[in-house]
C-alpha cells in the first residue's frame, strides 16, 4: 500500500523512522535512515555520452515504423515536446537554407535503425558556439558537422549532423518517456565536450583547471583572474590509465566532498575501472576492451569521462579495489580504516554492492565505453541495451521504491538541436564566439572559484535529454523547467544536505530544479517498466541480467 508522505510528516517525529517500521527495508541499506527532503533515499545518475535532444527526440512521439523494425505507438495524451516536429523545422530548416553550409547544407533527416553506427561529430567548445550562430542555430553542418567516419559499417553524409533517430531505434528511451518523466529544456551547463560535462555534473562548474602534465592548450582558457577554466577533454592527473603526456586536475570541491563531510554513502562507478579483471577477449588493465555488434572494439574505460577523478580529494588514481563489497560507497571500512577505493569503483562493483544490500545513497554510473552512446565507438542500440539492463536491475530491487534514476548526458556531440537559450553564464575568452569574436552573452560572467567573474564557462550549452525514472516520477510527463547538468548537484544538496551549496563559483545555486518531474504526493507509485534490451519494446518480464566477471 502506498504511504502518503504528507501524512507521515503529520505524525511528527522522524518520519523516516516511522516509514522504516511500516515498509521493511534491508537494515544494511546505507541510503536508509538518512533524513532526506524527499522520499528518495537512492539517487542513481546514469551519465551517458554525446547526444542532443533533437538527435533522439526530433519527431517524438511519432515513429516511422517501417516493416521489420521495432514499432512505437504513442500513448494518448502524450504531452507536446519542443522538437523539430512541433517547431516545423523538418523542412526549410535554416541549416538547409543557409548557403554558408555549402555542400553540407541539409534538412534534418531520419537515421534508420540500421544506421546506428555513425561518425562522431565535432563537439568542441568553440565550434559548438559557431554552429549556434548567435542563436540562429543554422551552421551545424559547417562547424560541428566535420565528422570522422567510424567503422566499415558506419553511415556518413556531409550533412550528417542533421540526422536524428526515432522510436524505431531509440525505442527504449521513448518508452521510458511514456512511462516516466523527461525534460525538453535541459542543457549542458556550458559548451564543450565530455570532461567539462562530467565536471559540471558533480561540481556545477569548470573554473579551477590545473595543468599537471604537459600543456594541452585546446582544453583550457585563461580565466582572466590568473587561473584557468576547463573547456576541453583532458585526462585526469595521476590516473594509471591516463595519458602520459597531458593531464589536468581541478581545484575546489565537488558534491562528493560534501557527501563525505556528512558521512553519506556515494560512489562513482565506471566501466572498465577494475584493472584486475580480464575480459572475455583476454584484455585486462587499462586495455580492457569490448566489441560491439555495431561499432567494433573499443576500450572500456575512458579516463577523461571520470567525474571524481579530477579532484584529489575524491580520486582513486591507482584504481585501488575496495576492501570489501560492504565497504563500497563508504569512506571507511568496517574496521574504521580508510577504504583504499575512495568512492571510485568499477561498474561491476555497483551491481555487487546493490545485490549485497549495500545500495549507496548517491551513485554515478558510466557504462563500458561501447555502451555509453557516444557516436563513433558506441551507438544508440548498445546504449539502449545497457540502459535497459541497468534500469531493470534497479527496478527489481526492494530499494526501487525509494530510488530515483536520472539519465543525463555529458554533451551533445555537436548533433543538431534547434533550441537556444540566451547565455546566463557569459564569457569573453578568445575561444568564445557565440555572439561575436570573443563574446558569449552579456554582462559580467558569474563568479568563479575565487569569487570574481571568470571566463570559459559560456553556457547553458547545447540541449540534451534528461530523464527521471522512479516510482515517484510523474508518468508520461515532460518538464519545461530550464535545468542543466548542475541541477544534479543541486538535487543531491537539496535532498541530502538541506540545500547546502558548494559556493566558490558553482552553478548549483542558480541551476534549475528537477522537482517538477516528481510527484511525492501521489497515492500511486509509478510501476517499474521492463523492456527488451535488444529492441527496447515493453517486455512482460525483465530480461535476465548478463553475467559479469
Amino acid at each position: 500500500m502506498r504511504i502518503q508522505w504528507r501524512r507521515m510528516l503529520a505524525f511528527g517525529g522522524a518520519a523516516a523512522m516511522l516509514a522504516n517500521s511500516i515498509i521493511p527495508v534491508a537494515a544494511a541499506d546505507p541510503g536508509f535512515g538518512r533524513n532526506t527532503a524527499t522520499p528518495i533515499k537512492h539517487l542513481v545518475v546514469i551519465y551517458d555520452e554525446n547526444i542532443s535532444f533533437d538527435h533522439y527526440f526530433a519527431t517524438y512521439p511519432h515513429a516511422t515504423n517501417p516493416s521489420g523494425e521495432p514499432r512505437f505507438f504513442p500513448s494518448p495524451f502524450t504531452p507536446r515536446v519542443n522538437n523539430l516536429l512541433t517547431s516545423d523545422l523538418l523542412t526549410n530548416n535554416p541549416n538547409f537554407l543557409n548557403p554558408a553550409n555549402g555542400a553540407g547544407a541539409a534538412n534534418p533527416f531520419r537515421l534508420d535503425r540500421t544506421q546506428a553506427a555513425t561518425a562522431d561529430q565535432n563537439h568542441s567548445y568553440t565550434p559548438e558556439q559557431e554552429a549556434f550562430d548567435g542563436g540562429k542555430m543554422d551552421l551545424f553542418p559547417k562547424y560541428t558537422g566535420t565528422a570522422t567516419t567510424g567503422g566499415a559499417d558506419a553511415f556518413g553524409t556531409t550533412g550528417q549532423v542533421m540526422g536524428y533517430y526515432d522510436g524505431n531505434t531509440v525505442t527504449a528511451l521513448w518508452n521510458y518517456a511514456q512511462h516516466f518523466a523527461m525534460s525538453d529544456n535541459a542543457y549542458g551547463s556550458s559548451f564543450g565536450p565530455s570532461t567539462p560535462g562530467a565536471i559540471e555534473a558533480i561540481s556545477g562548474q569548470t573554473n579551477g583547471y590545473v595543468a599537471v602534465l604537459g600543456t594541452k592548450s585546446a582544453s583550457f582558457v585563461a580565466d582572466g583572474e590568473g587561473g584557468f577554466t576547463d573547456i576541453g577533454d583532458e585526462d585526469p592527473a595521476y590516473d594509471t590509465c591516463s595519458s602520459k603526456t597531458q593531464t589536468m586536475s581541478m581545484l575546489g570541491k565537488n558534491v562528493g566532498d560534501l557527501l563525505n563531510e556528512h558521512g553519506i554513502s556515494w560512489g562513482g562507478f565506471m566501466g572498465g575501472f577494475d584493472l584486475s579483471l580480464v575480459n572475455a577477449d583476454g584484455t585486462t588493465g587499462c586495455a580492457r576492451d569490448s566489441t560491439s555488434l555495431y561499432t567494433g572494439t573499443t576500450a572500456d574505460y575512458v579516463p577523461h569521462h571520470n567525474w571524481f577523478q579530477y579532484y584529489p580529494s575524491t580520486a582513486n588514481p591507482t584504481h585501488a579495489r575496495p576492501s570489501s563489497v560492504d565497504a563500497i560507497g563508504h569512506t571507511y571500512d568496517a574496521s574504521g580504516q580508510l577504504d583504499p577505493a575512495n568512492h571510485e569503483y568499477d561498474i561491476d562493483d555497483f551491481y555487487a554492492a546493490v545485490k549485497a544490500g549495500n545500495f549507496p545513497a548517491v551513485a554515478f554510473l558510466k557504462a563500458p565505453a561501447y555502451q555509453d552512446g557516444h557516436a563513433g565507438y558506441s551507438d544508440p542500440l548498445d546504449e539502449q541495451a545497457w540502459l535497459v539492463q541497468v534500469i531493470s536491475f534497479i527496478e527489481q530491487r526492494p530499494e526501487w521504491r525509494d530510488t530515483a534514476i536520472i539519465i543525463d548526458w555529458d554533451d551533445s556531440d555537436g548533433w543538431y538541436d534547434h533550441a537556444f537559450v540566451e547565455p546566463t553564464s557569459a564569457s569573453y575568452a578568445t575561444a568564445d564566439v557565440l555572439n561575436g569574436a570573443g563574446l558569449c552573452g552579456s554582462g559580467p560572467p558569474p563568479p568563479g572559484l575565487g569569487g570574481d567573474p571568470v571566463n570559459g564557462r559560456c553556457g547553458p550549452g547545447p540541449r540534451i535529454p534528461f530523464f527521471v525514472i522512479s516510482p515517484y516520477a510523474k508518468a508520461n510527463y515532460v518538464s519545461h523547467t530550464l535545468i542543466t547538468q548542475s541541477s544534479i548537484v543541486r538535487f543531491i544538496e537539496d535532498n541530502w544536505l538541506r540545500g547546502e551549496r558548494l559556493n566558490n563559483g558553482s552553478f548549483d545555486a542558480t541551476a534549475g530544479s528537477i522537482m517538477d518531474m516528481f510527484d511525492f504526493n501521489t497515492r500511486f507509485a509509478n510501476p517499474p517498466l521492463f523492456l527488451d534490451p535488444e529492441d527496447g519494446t515493453p517486455a512482460a518480464h525483465p530480461a535476465p541480467f548478463p553475467p559479469f566477471p
Binding site: 555520452e49 554525446n50 516511422t64 517501417p66 516493416s67 521489420g68 523494425e69 523538418l90 538547409f96 555542400a103 553540407g104 547544407a105 541539409a106 534538412n107 534534418p108 533527416f109 531520419r110 534508420d112 535503425r113 540500421t114 544506421q115 562522431d120 565535432n122 563537439h123 568542441s124 570522422t148 567516419t149 567510424g150 567503422g151 566499415a152 559499417d153 558506419a154 553511415f155 556518413g156 553524409t157 556531409t158 550533412g159 565536450p193 565530455s194 585546446a218 576541453g232 577533454d233 575480459n279 572475455a280 577477449d281 583476454g282 566489441t291 560491439s292 555488434l293 555495431y294 567494433g296 573499443t298 576500450a299 575512458v302 577523461h304 569521462h305 565505453a369 557516444h374 563513433g376 565507438y377
Partner: protein, 464 residues
C-alpha cells in the same frame, strides 16, 4: 605412421628450437596446441567460433541488394557491382585479366585488380598506428598521425608473435588497395562514378534513376525530403549497399575447410597440414605474420590479414595500359588515387594486406594483378631476393631493375626485414618447390564452400 612421425619429429624439433632460442615460449605453446603434430589431422584444440548470425535481411539490406545488382545505375546500363564482384567468385573478379574493362563504352581499362568484397565487415578505419582515441575532441589528421609515427622503428613481423606488430605506427585499416575510404558506403560510391568502372556520370543522373526506381522506398526510410538533398540521397543509397554487405552471410560465410577444421569438424590432409605449418613457420613461409590465421581471444574467426600496409615491390605489370607510360607509377598509400598522404613518401609503394580467404579462387593477385596463379605468387615470395632476374625488367644496359614498379627514390620503402623478404642472393630458398605446393594446398582450405550452411552457425549466438 612414418610420415606422421617424421612430421611430428620435425615439428617437435622446430618447437624445441624456438624454446632454446628463447623466443616467445608462451606463444609457442599456444601454437603447439593448434598446429597438427602427427598424422592427427583434426584440430586437437577446437574452437567454438563466434560468427555473425544468419538472419533475414533488413529492409535496408534488401534495398541494398537490389542496388548491388542494378546495372541501370551505370553509364552503359550494363555494369553493376556484380559485374566485377562476382557472387560466384567470392565477390571478386570473375576473369583472369589484371584489370577489368569498364566505363561508359565497356572498353575503358582500369588501373588495379578487383579486390574481393568478402570479409570486410571487421575492417578498421584507416589510421597510422592503432587508433586508440575513443571520444577525442581533437582527432589527428592522417598527416599528423604520420608525423607522430615519424622515424619510429617498427617491430619485425614474425608469425611467432604477430600481435607484437599490431602496435606498429604504420598505415593500417581502410578500404580499397590504398585505404582511402573507411566505410563500405564510401567504397560503393567509388566504382559507381569512376569513369573506368561503372561510369555512372553525374550524381543527378544517378539520382534520377534512384528516384524513378526506388523513390517510394527512399522516402519511407529517409524522410519525404530526401531527394531535396542530392548528397544525402546518394549516401543513403550507398549505405544500403554497404548494409547488404554487412548483413548478408554471403559476405562472411566462414564456410571454408579451415573454419571447419578450427571448429573440430574437419581433417586436414597431410599436404594441408604441412602447408599450415609452413604458413606459420617464421623461417619458412612466415605468412601468418601478416595474414593472421588464429582466432581472436574472444573466439572470432581469423580474417587472414592484419589490415596493415606493406610495400613488397611486386613487378610492374605491362598488361595495365597505364603502365605503358614509364613515368606512371601506382604508389598506393601515397597516391595517385589517394591524395591526402602525398607528402608522406615513406609510404609510397604500400598497399593493403588483403585477406587470404578465397585466395585460391582468384586469377589475379596483388594490386596490379601481375601474377595469375598462386604458384607464381609463391615463387615470387621465395625468389624475389634470391633471383630477381626472374621477375623484374631490365634497363638499357641489361641490368635487372629490382622493384621496377617503383621510382628509384622509393625503392628503399620495400620490405626487406620481414621473412621471407630478409634473404640475400646465395641464401637457401625459404620454401622448396614441394613446400610451395604444400602451402598452396593449405591456401585451398581457405575457400568458402558454397551451397551449404557454415558448420559454425549451429546456434544463433550473436557475434560481430
Amino acid at each position: 605412421m612414418r610420415e606422421g612421425w617424421a612430421e611430428g619429429a620435425a615439428a617437435r624439433w622446430w618447437v624445441t628450437r624456438r624454446i632454446r632460442s628463447g623466443s616467445g615460449v608462451l606463444l609457442v605453446c599456444a601454437l603447439f596446441g593448434a598446429v597438427p603434430l602427427h598424422a592427427q589431422a583434426t584440430n586437437p584444440r577446437p574452437y567454438r567460433l563466434q560468427v555473425p548470425p544468419a538472419r533475414p535481411l533488413s529492409a535496408m539490406a534488401q534495398l541494398g541488394k537490389r542496388l548491388f545488382n542494378d546495372a541501370r545505375l551505370s553509364g552503359s546500363g550494363r555494369i553493376s557491382c556484380v559485374s566485377c564482384h562476382s557472387p560466384a567468385h567470392a565477390f571478386g573478379p570473375p576473369g583472369v585479366s589484371a584489370i577489368v574493362l569498364g566505363g561508359a563504352d565497356d572498353r575503358s581499362p582500369g588501373f588495379r585488380a578487383v579486390p574481393s568484397l568478402r570479409y570486410l565487415y571487421r575492417q578498421p578505419p584507416f589510421s597510422i598506428g592503432p587508433d586508440t582515441s575513443a571520444d577525442s575532441d581533437q582527432r589527428l589528421t592522417v598527416g599528423q598521425q604520420a608525423a607522430r609515427a615519424g622515424d619510429k622503428v617498427r617491430a619485425v613481423k614474425t608469425a611467432l608473435a604477430p600481435q607484437a606488430a599490431a602496435a606498429n605506427l604504420v598505415p593500417q585499416g581502410g578500404l580499397f588497395w590504398d585505404g582511402r575510404v573507411n566505410t563500405l558506403q564510401q567504397q560503393a560510391g567509388g566504382p559507381l562514378f569512376n569513369p573506368a568502372e561503372m561510369a555512372a556520370g553525374s550524381p543527378s543522373r544517378v539520382l534520377t534513376k534512384l528516384e524513378t526506381n526506388y523513390g517510394e522506398e527512399f522516402k519511407a526510410f529517409f524522410g519525404p525530403t530526401v531527394f531535396q538533398s542530392p548528397r544525402l540521397a546518394l549516401d543513403e543509397a550507398m549505405f544500403a549497399i554497404g548494409r547488404y554487405e554487412i548483413e548478408s552471410v554471403e559476405f562472411h560465410p566462414f564456410r571454408s575447410k579451415y573454419d571447419a577444421w578450427l571448429a573440430g569438424h574437419a581433417e586436414l590432409t597431410p599436404a594441408e597440414s604441412r602447408g599450415y605449418r609452413l604458413f606459420n613457420d617464421p623461417d619458412k613461409g612466415n605468412c601468418a605474420a601478416c595474414h593472421l590465421d588464429q582466432p581472436t581471444r574472444d573466439g572470432r574467426p581469423p580474417l587472414f590479414t592484419d589490415f596493415q600496409y606493406e610495400a613488397l615491390g611486386v613487378p610492374r605489370n605491362p598488361a595495365i595500359p597505364a603502365n605503358r607510360d614509364s613515368h606512371y607509377y601506382d604508389l598506393g598509400v601515397c597516391g595517385p588515387y589517394r591524395t591526402d598522404l602525398r607528402a608522406q613518401t615513406q609510404y609510397c609503394g604500400m598497399f593493403l594486406t588483403p585477406s587470404l580467404r578465397n585466395v585460391a579462387t582468384r586469377h589475379v593477385f596483388f594490386h596490379n594483378g601481375v601474377f595469375h596463379s598462386l604458384h607464381d605468387v609463391l615463387e615470387w615470395y621465395v625468389y624475389r631476393d634470391l633471383a630477381p632476374e626472374r621477375f623484374y625488367s631490365r634497363d638499357e644496359s641489361g641490368h635487372v631493375v629490382k622493384y621496377d614498379d617503383l621510382p628509384p627514390e622509393y625503392r628503399r620503402n620495400v620490405d626487406t626485414v620481414d621473412g621471407p623478404f630478409n634473404r640475400h642472393p646465395g641464401d637457401p630458398p625459404s620454401l622448396s618447390d614441394a613446400e610451395i605446393e604444400d602451402v598452396i594446398a593449405f591456401l585451398d582450405t581457405l575457400t568458402d564452400e558454397d551451397d551449404h550452411a557454415s558448420p559454425l552457425r549451429t546456434d544463433a549466438r550473436m557475434s560481430r
